[in-house]
Symmetry: C2
Subunit: 412 residues, 2 copies
């Protein structure tokens, strides 16, 4: 049983106010899959005609629900998403695949749609049998309880070691018609690019074909979930879905590069980044949110690889946990990234205060303002690695005793 | 000031008995570079005619001593190695390069050799100015104090966060003539392949040209230092050197593949692996030594990448710290390695007790013997990832509160 620890000190003050999004309803239930006395099952229902896009884990050991989603996502249509917390349904052989199919069939029967219109996601312990009969038995009650304003409860039902529910919303206009994008996410450990969260579900009333949604979602994921890391560990179950009900009455847009989609793409970016940063803020044991800006690399991709190497370095993360402006560890991490760099151009700053410049320590450094910055909750680390045009921004959290506490005894 | 913590519970009972190796003398001094009241400077002197091979960090931000060694190593000749602890002399621009040259020149003058016959290594804090004048001033005293049996003191002088001095010795015969290989190492954090230690110095009385030493050393490093990891972080200063005095009177051997070198190569492997495992045993905060065997991969190299991904996973390392046979996290780590695997062939065992087989959990598992194994100090994790011929063995330690204690406040 995962300990639900104190709420992260980096948590937002409250769950955001998210209005209903036309075409979607939510329901949760206590299926007792692993947890007791809390909802652990979520059903999202979408109206007929809803399109869908998804980004799934690149793990070579994906969970059974991921395999199912990968198979049905190319159809581009969805009527429902069913999600459980507490058991990830991974490494169960044919039994695991059959469990997913049972879930999809039960939901399809209750909603009068095809099983291939039901996406499935699971999060929790790997390798144990999913008590799918409890999920199937809960489906009729879930369908009865569907309501358009249930999104905060939905966010709570998918939590595992999360200390707070994660939601975000943004508004945009397509061709002058207002649309909304709302999303929920869960995740706090086993968090690394591809994806930097275990589960995230976004809904919008925009009217867009799957062929438009998919590239927009992939691009937004790259700048958000795939630019964050907690511990460098990638889940078997990472799933990001975007469902579009088409209830907004704008003109159809069929080209993802259409300029009428710019505001929608920005809003999608904003929701993804908001959720991804909430996941980092809930990083297991996190006391500080760290933003790392890398500039001067040979390309943006190279800058991102350097940034993630810094972000995943236990030595950098523990130094920041200790409030220590140990830029030597940043140098170490830059060096181990294996990317082209110019040592003589290296610069490092914390909170805008330079500690190294042109490849060496700043002489007679006044450490007081840096120490003050590092004592805060939000840390800005900026690194110049050369004189190239590449830049990237990534996010992580510090590595503290809390991470050890949570992870040295999660399963039992 | 680094805290010299309690000695690691995984430390060997004592420093090994290492006889003098013909052609080498050692001396240490208290130069007060960073530490007080302990030796922090080491001089190894080698007789004229000594050959040398080396393996250096692949970091793209190497320390100034590494740059120097990389420049002079191709000459294949060495008369001395000078090493300091407490300051790594990294990222100091031209000042850092000049400091290295000052060290080499001071030693060369005292030993009547060329500066290019003096190898230099430094370990400790990155980015601060090396007080090279203290090293230069200590050289005459060091030369006076040279003695053939000073190797244990040598091992102590290069320690930083190490909790015990590391030494190893092995014997072999070349063409019927006995030879000895002795070595010392230091390192306990910032430990990851290439190299898996910060500094290691080996001496032998064998009579072998540098062109023979180099491939043998590179191969031995690949199976030892480059098969171990503590935290996935690669130092700027990793330096492994092998010096051969040629005082053993065997016939010259000029082909590294000559069968007369088989026993010597085995002994070199043994010394490297002994030292590398001592470094892991002294991993910051380590309570358990973990050996990971990966089999069934498409190649040995693929198996090693999977093994190191498992070995570097914070979630695997914390699970083992907590005595939890959480094989789901092993599955996660296998999946994130990005190597070809066959999920249906996956098998995982701890201490020889299978927890998963043919891609799924072992039913009705008796966890008692596994729990007993995981309660011990030496953990054996075996993973089958497919049906290929590739296999590799790697080593790491667990991730505990001790790592956070040491690293959240190292520099200050």
């Amino acid at each position: 049983m995962a300990r639900i620890a104190h709420v992260s000190p980096l948590a937002p003050a409250r769950f955001p106010t998210i209005p209903p999004v036309a075409g979607f309803r939510f329901a949760t239930a206590e299926a007792g899959i692993r947890y007791r006395g809390r909802p652990d099952l979520l059903l999202i229902e979408a109206v007929s005609g809803t399109t869908v896009a998804g980004v799934l884990t690149r793990s070579s050991m994906p969970g059974h629900p991921v395999t199912w989603c990968r198979e049905i996502l190319p159809r581009g249509r969805a009527r429902a998403v069913i999600v459980n917390a507490g058991n990830a349904n991974v490494c169960r052989g044919e039994e695991g695949d059959r469990a997913v199919e049972s879930e999809a069939r039960a939901v399809a029967a209750a909603l009068h749609c095809a099983p291939e219109e039901v996406l499935v996601a699971s999060t929790g312990v790997i390798g144990e049998r999913l008590p799918v009969e409890r999920i199937v038995a809960a489906v009729p009650g879930l369908v009865e309880g569907l309501r358009p304003d249930g999104i905060e409860q939905a966010a709570r039902a998918i939590m595992t070691t999360d200390t707070f529910p994660k939601g975000a919303v943004a508004h945009a206009a397509i061709d002058g018609v207002p649309v909304t994008i709302a999303g929920i996410a869960k995740g706090s450990g086993m968090i690394a690019p591809n994806l930097a969260t275990m589960l995230a579900f976004l809904v919008t009333d925009a009217r867009l074909p799957a062929a438009v949604l998919q590239p927009l979602l992939a691009a937004a994921a790259e700048r958000s979930f795939n630019s964050t890391t907690v511990d460098g560990d990638t889940s078997t179950s990472d799933t990001l879905l975007l469902l579009a009900s088409g209830r907004a009455h704008h003109h159809p847009v069929v080209d993802p590069a259409d300029s009428r989609l710019a505001a929608f793409a920005d809003a999608l970016d904003a929701v993804c980044l908001d959720l991804a940063l909430q996941v980092v803020r809930d990083g297991e044991g996190a006391q500080k949110l760290i933003e790392i800006l890398v500039e001067g690399a040979v390309s943006d991709a190279s800058a991102k690889r350097i940034g993630l190497t810094i972000a995943n370095s236990p030595l950098v993360k523990t130094a920041i946990a200790g409030g220590d402006a140990n830029w030597g560890r940043v140098v170490m991490a830059v060096g181990k990234a294996g990317e082209p760099v110019e040592p003589a151009a290296l610069a490092v700053s914390f909170g805008g205060h330079a500690v190294a410049r042109e490849g060496r320590a700043v002489p007679d450094l006044d450490e007081a303002p840096i120490a003050a910055h590092l004592a805060g909750r939000e840390i800005a680390l900026s690194v110049v690695v050369g004189r190239g045009p590449g830049r990237a921004r990534v996010w992580t959290c510090d590595l503290t005793h809390g991470y050890i506490d949570i992870n040295a005894d999660y399963r039992s």
